[in-house]
Each structure stands twice: as structure tokens, then as C-alpha cells.
Point group: C2
Chain length 440, copies 2
């Protein structure tokens, strides 16, 4: 029976999960593929510990560079995370003729445009299902399942930490800082949560999704990114009152203005209709909603992180590559869903050109004429209102005003808000959130 | 550039959708695959009509048997539907060395065990993504995306007609017969709706999902099947009062009792928690929820029918086969997710052994001692109640009683209900629904 030999870099929780599947589900894997997958080697800095798993028969090494060059390894699983040394190990593995599977979104988002051409030139495959949406086979769905479609939009709840925090804020009416502390205590958020709560992790994933959706290059640095740290319990309640729930979404859409094509990519807290499918995605669950010109709306839901779900996605990639091993790799779908030579440089749409509906929250002095002043600025900019709610006065004699606008460009909205912020009666930072009514 | 040549059987709505993608998205398909797909021939009984599409360059024929044997066809798309002559054409196509893609769940459910071994023996592929879940790439997710998992459960809303009717009954408090008429007028239900509303279509799809999930043989005839025609607006309201929504689910679970393995397969209206993800799937949308031992819960949501979504799935299959064409087919995942030689004969669990929680609705005479008599029969059978609601008296002097039980076997429940039905005070047919709390 044909056998593919795996070398594993990193025996953290996900690495152990991958090893566990490869060892415990050997029979299942062979029944499915008619081929075998064998874990031959694994590297980690600390080997002198209990892995909770029988790794006899697996060569353990503290030297990852030994594994990426080893003659008895056909495929390297990179689970180190981060940019370096992960990138160097992956490049070396490819240069030594080894397929690569990784769960590392940062690596793919930042260095994918170096790695994919290298792999294609060598006739090798890179699998990264686990990098976006954890256990959810959403990359495969987009790349292969929806391949007949021109993709029209991608909406993703891609960060479990943020979704956990927003869900808890909504359910308990609690404020951001308190819920963050709780999430940290529970292990759902890191001690330094910046990467998650400021949307960077979501932007990594969105940049990969967008490139796969539109056949464009990965442009992580050009994703417009806002996090959830400015959302208050009052915002969540106001949004709910108007029929919306707040989710941190990664959003990607293609734009064709005559010949010029642009890709819109933005990550920010977003109001979605409370009865939409994506609004139901709660706690640390992830979901990706993808619409195509033929398939219409589709959604993929599941665990976006965790040892076992992430390992499930890593091993699915290994099994795909094993199907094509040793001589059929050229017959697998290309990693980014388009053959490398047809992937295009497509400019990113400037955020100013994005067209959205907006939620605007102001704190104003409780005095006559303020609402008239605010709304006349909006009228100057031809921004029409769908709703305006004036809330009860705060102790500080300020009044929160929440407005929901109809569609306008971000540039126009920002110009209007800048004028509004300049009003004497407007007291605090203005919070702007965007709304997406088109989600399913 | 390598080219795969397609012959299409059936130019109905889905056939036209497939032709439209193959013609209009030619460039997209080539950019994705680095190969070309060309529609060379199509057969239909009536050719003298406006297809709404430029089919010049496509050989139109009124003779399907010409296409399944033609030298210039590499892949046959079967969109005739039903058992025969679809089966004969597919067998002939395979015998003539042609790959097959079909949207025909009846064909796969009834004749799959003849077709898959034939295809495997010839080194050919059969694609049937469109047969289950319409445009949703759920077969690919199960077969490849979750391949590292032992599947623990499958729950599917697989029939858009039923889901449309149940959603409308709930939203409008309307009764089944009225909504069915409306669905028929809107074209959401057939003039003879039996196939959809009695669960047969769902059973076809479930039998395919179960076999793919567990590596077992397809046993459509052994699926326990109940439809939605006995559900009343009052049942939907009672369920809602207790925190549940009623959906027609296809349910499949594996069972290992020592050495013996069994597959549980049932289709019936099911109470699901109102805040579960699957309860949000409304109107004619479909969804499949699949749980695996590593990935935990996942769900796939989208359009389960319609020209364009179904065509999307058909062309995705064509593109998969084109990836492997002409010499890499052996490197694609096997159609049923397990190599043919490893697919097993696994007995179906008798419905009497299924363990469920139950919703029981009785109409009883409004007289003392009835509830005591009913509940003491349940106690005799060691069936404990989670809830009992006695509703206001009907004009006919009967009272509806709704009970929700804890877990028991179907056999035990039926024995108890048979005794309850024998009570003088119990007036009408007893309705039994099953509840699934384990859905996500």
C-alpha cells in the first residue's frame, strides 16, 4: 500500500492532536484512501515530557531543520506559528521536495506570495485549511465546492475570542473590559489580547479568503482593520433595539468599475440583522458566509480553534495530498483555487470608497438645537437617516444619540462625522459602526 | 491546454443552468484549473424551443443514447431524474469509459451500489454533490473536509419544500393544508407533494449521507420515514412554548454494541432547541450538520434546490474530475469517501431500538382521572416526563394534552402509547414527535 510519511514541527496542543489522529485513526484513514499515512518524525523544543500519547515509533527531535531535510519525510506539518522561523522551515521543506501543511495564518497571509509560486514550481502542494476557520472545511468549500462561481461576497466570523466576548457582552449586558478579563481567566483570550481583539487575526484570515475568492494576490497589509475594544454594552443594546446584533466580521467583495477591478477588504465590528443566519453564530464558534453568482448564499459553521478541530483540518489536508501521492499532485486543485500563473495583481479598494450603512453613536450636551445641528450636517452630505434614537440623559448631563444611516461612502461619512465632532455640543469620541444588511 | 468534453442529458432548468456556467464562466474555469471544460453535446426530448442561451457549437440531440456512447464525450452529466431510463444511461456511459456527474438522489440512493463498483472497476469517477443539499458543497465537506474524523452524527434539513411549509406554518400560525396550497401556488411544492412532504426525498438523501459518513452501503429502503402532514399549527405553537421549533430532519448515527455495528437512520419531524443553529434555517434553505470525533459540530447551509445553485454543484463535480483528467482520476477521493473495497455491509438499527426524547399530543375527554391514567401508564413503562401542558378545552369538550418525555426507546414508547390510545377517555389519534437536544 502506498504510504506518505509525515514529519511534524511543533508538539503543542494542535501538534498532539495531529499526532493523535494519525496514530489512533490509522485504520479509518486507510479505509478512506486506500493508502497509508505514517507519522515518522516530530520536532519540539521540549521533548522530555508526557505527551499523553504513545509516540513510540516516531523519531523525536529537538531540531526542526533535521526534519525539513530528512530523506524519510514526504510531507512537513508546520505548527510552530508566527512568521519566523516557520517561514524558513517551510521554504527549506519545499526546496527539499516536501509537501507542506500548516495551520499558520500569519505565515500564509504574509509570505504566501513567496511560498505558493515556490511550491508550484516544484510540483508540490501547500495545505492550509486549518489556518482559516479552524476545523471548518471552508477553504475547500471556497476553492473546490464553489469553483463554478464568481464569488460575490465573503463574510466571516473568524476569531473565536472576539465572538465569545461579544456574545457574553450581549447575553449579560456586561462591558468589554469585564468580559475580556473573564475571557482571559477562562483561557479564551491571551494575556495580551491585541492580536485577537484588534482584528489582526481576522485580517490575516480575510486576506487569504479574499485572494482565494477572487484569484488575486494576498494583501494582508491592505486590509482595513478595526477591533472590538470600543464597543460598549450600550452599543450592543442600541443595536439590538434596532434589530441588529454586533459581530466582528471580515468582509471581502469584488468591484468592477469598467476595466479596473478592485478588491474591498475590511475587518470591523458590524451590525447584522438579528434574525440572519450569521447573527446566530455565538460563543467561540466561527462561520464563513460565501455567496457566488450561481450558488447564492452559503454558510460554513464550526469550531474555529482548539486542539481537536484544528487537527481535523490539518489531517484533512494531509489526506488530500496523500490521495495525489506520489504522482498525482498535479491533479489536485491548486492551493489558492487558481493556477499560480492566473492569479492576478488586483488593487485594493481604498476604504474611502466603501459604501456602507452606518451606526453612529454620539454623546452630546443636553441643550436645544444639537440634534438639528447634527442632522443638518448629515443633510449637507446627503446622508439620510433610517433611525435616530435619543437615549435618557447621563448623570454628566450628556445625552447619547444613536443614528442609523442609509448607504453612503465611507469618505463622505467620515467628512460629515469630522464636522459633527467639531460641534461644541458634541462631547466625546464618536463611535462609527458599519451595518451589512446583505448577509444571509 | 487539456480539455474535458461534456455531454449533457436533460435541458430542463438545471441542465440549462449547467450549460450556462460552462459557456459563460469558461474563462473563470480555465483560470482555476489550468484546463478547459467544453460542452460538446446535449440531449433533450424537445429541442425546438428557446433555451435562453446561445447553444451554437453544442451538438443537440433528441437521442440520449447517442451521447452516452459518443467518442467525443469524456463526461456525461445526467439530469433526467428518476430511476429509469437514468440508470440505463449512466450504466452505458460508464461502460463506455465516461465519467458521470448527476444531481439524481433517487438514482444514487437506489442504484448507487450497482454504479459505484462499476465506476471503480473502470477507473471512472461519479460525482453527485448536487444530489444532496443542492448547491451546498456538503458531500465534499463530509467526504474530504472531515475525512480525519469518525463521524458521530448527521442531521439534515434536506427538503426545501418541507422547510418552507414548516417555516410558514410557524410564522403565520397557519395550518398544514393551507400552507401546502400556497406552496403549490408559488411553485415550491408539486401538485402531488407526497415525495417531498412524506419525507421520501429526505430519506433518499439521508441514505446517501449515512453511507458516506460511516463507510457503509446505501440502504434507502431501511430508512425509517415520517413526513410532516400530521403537524398542526397547535403542535408548532406547543413546541415553541417549550423552547423548540419543528423541522423535518434526516438523522443518521453510528452505533457500536460490542462487535456489532449498526447505523441508525430516521427521517421525521423533529423538535430542535429554538436557539440552536439548525433551528434558524428557514424558508426553503437546506442545512446539514455533521459532527465528528475531532472536529465537533460543523454545519453547511445554503440553497438546496433551484437552477443556479444546483448547477453550481454539478459544475464543481465536473471541475474536480477535470482536475484529475485525463490520467489522475485515481488520485481523487473515492466518490463515497471510502475506497470501494473497504465499504462495509452494516446493519440498520431497528427503529424500536432508537433512543429519543418524545413530544406526545393527545386529545382527551374533559373528565376526572384522565391525566392520572395516562401518566401511570408512562410510569409503568419507566418513561419520565420533562413537561406536561394541558391546554384549554375545545368546543367538542375534548382537551389537548401535550407531554415531553425524557429519553426512552422507541419500542418502549410505542408500547406505552398503544396502551394510552386504548383508554376510553383518549379520543383521537395520538401524535408522537421526536426531539433532538444534541444538535448545535
Amino acid at each position: 500500500m502506498t504510504e506518505l510519511r509525515v514529519g511534524l514541527l511543533g508538539l503543542g496542543t494542535i501538534g498532539i492532536g495531529v499526532a493523535r489522529i494519525l496514530i489512533e485513526q490509522q485504520d479509518l484513514i486507510s479505509r478512506r484512501l486506500g493508502k497509508q499515512v505514517r507519522l515518522v518524525a516530530a520536532a519540539d523544543r521540549v521533548l522530555d515530557r508526557d505527551f499523553g500519547l504513545d509516540l513510540s515509533g516516531v523519531r523525536l527531535s529537538s531540531d526542526a531543520s533535521e526534519i525539513v531535510t530528512a530523506d524519510d519525510v514526504d510531507l512537513v506539518v508546520e505548527l510552530i506559528g508566527g512568521y519566523e522561523p516557520a517561514r524558513t522551515f517551510v521554504v527549506t521543506a519545499l526546496e527539499h521536495g516536501k509537501h507542506v501543511v500548516t495551520a499558520n495564518k500569519a505565515l500564509i497571509a504574509k509570505h504566501g506570495e513567496e511560498l505558493f509560486p515556490l511550491a508550484a514550481a516544484k510540483g508540490l502542494q501547500i495545505g492550509f485549511e486549518a489556518a482559516v476557520g479552524g476545523g471548518i472545511p471552508c477553504m475547500k468549500a471556497l476553492r473546490e465546492g464553489l469553483a463554478a462561481n464568481a464569488i460575490e461576497s465573503v463574510y466571516g466570523i473568524l476569531n473565536g475570542t472576539c465572538n465569545f466576548i461579544l456574545t457574553k457582552m450581549e447575553n449579560e449586558g456586561a462591558d468589554y473590559a469585564d468580559v475580556l478579563k473573564e475571557a482571559q481567566a477562562l483561557g479564551y483570550a491571551e494575556a495580551d489580547p491585541t492580536f485577537d481583539v484588534e482584528g489582526i487575526d481576522t485580517a490575516h484570515k480575510l486576506s487569504i479568503l479574499a485572494a482565494m475568492a477572487f484569484g488575486s494576490k494576498i494583501k494582508f497589509d491592505e486590509v482595513y482593520t478595526e477591533g472590538i475594544s470600543k464597543i460598549t454594552a450600550a452599543d450592543i443594546a442600541s443595536a439590538h433595539e434596532m434589530g441588529y446584533r454586533i459581530k466582528l466580521l471580515g468582509i471581502a467583495k469584488p468591484h468592477a468599475n469598467g476595466e479596473l477591478q478592485q478588491v474591498e477588504m475590511r475587518v470591523h465590528p458590524t451590525l447584522v440583522p438579528v434574525d440572519s443566519q450569521i447573527a446566530q453564530v455565538s460563543d467561540s464558534y466561527n462561520a464563513v458566509q460565501i455567496s457566488g453568482d450561481f450558488v447564492e448564499h452559503t454558510m460554513y459553521f464550526g469550531r474555529g480553534a482548539g486542539e481537536r478541530p484544528t487537527a481535523s483540518a490539518v489531517v484533512a489536508d494531509i489526506m488530500d495530498i496523500t490521495s495525489g501521492f506520489p504522482d498525482g499532485i498535479a491533479h489536485l486543485a491548486p492551493p489558492m483555487g487558481f493556477v499560480e500563473s492566473s492569479r492576478r495583481e488586483i488593487p485594493t479598494m481604498p476604504i474611502e470608497d466603501a459604501v456602507c450603512e452606518y451606526y453612529i453613536r454620539l454623546m452630546v450636551k443636553d441643550q436645544p438645537g444639537v440634534i438639528a445641528a447634527v442632522t443638518s450636517i448629515l443633510a449637507d452630505h446627503r446622508i439620510s437617516l433610517e433611525a435616530l434614537i435619543q437615549k435618557e440623559r447621563h448623570a454628566s448631563n450628556t445625552v447619547p444619540i444613536v443614528m442609523m444611516t442609509h448607504e453612503t461612502t465611507e469618505g463622505n461619512l467620515q467628512a460629515a462625522v469630522s464636522r459633527i465632532t467639531g460641534l461644541d455640543a458634541v462631547e466625546e469620541d464618536v463611535l462609527i459602526l458599519r451595518k451589512e444588511s446583505a448577509v444571509a
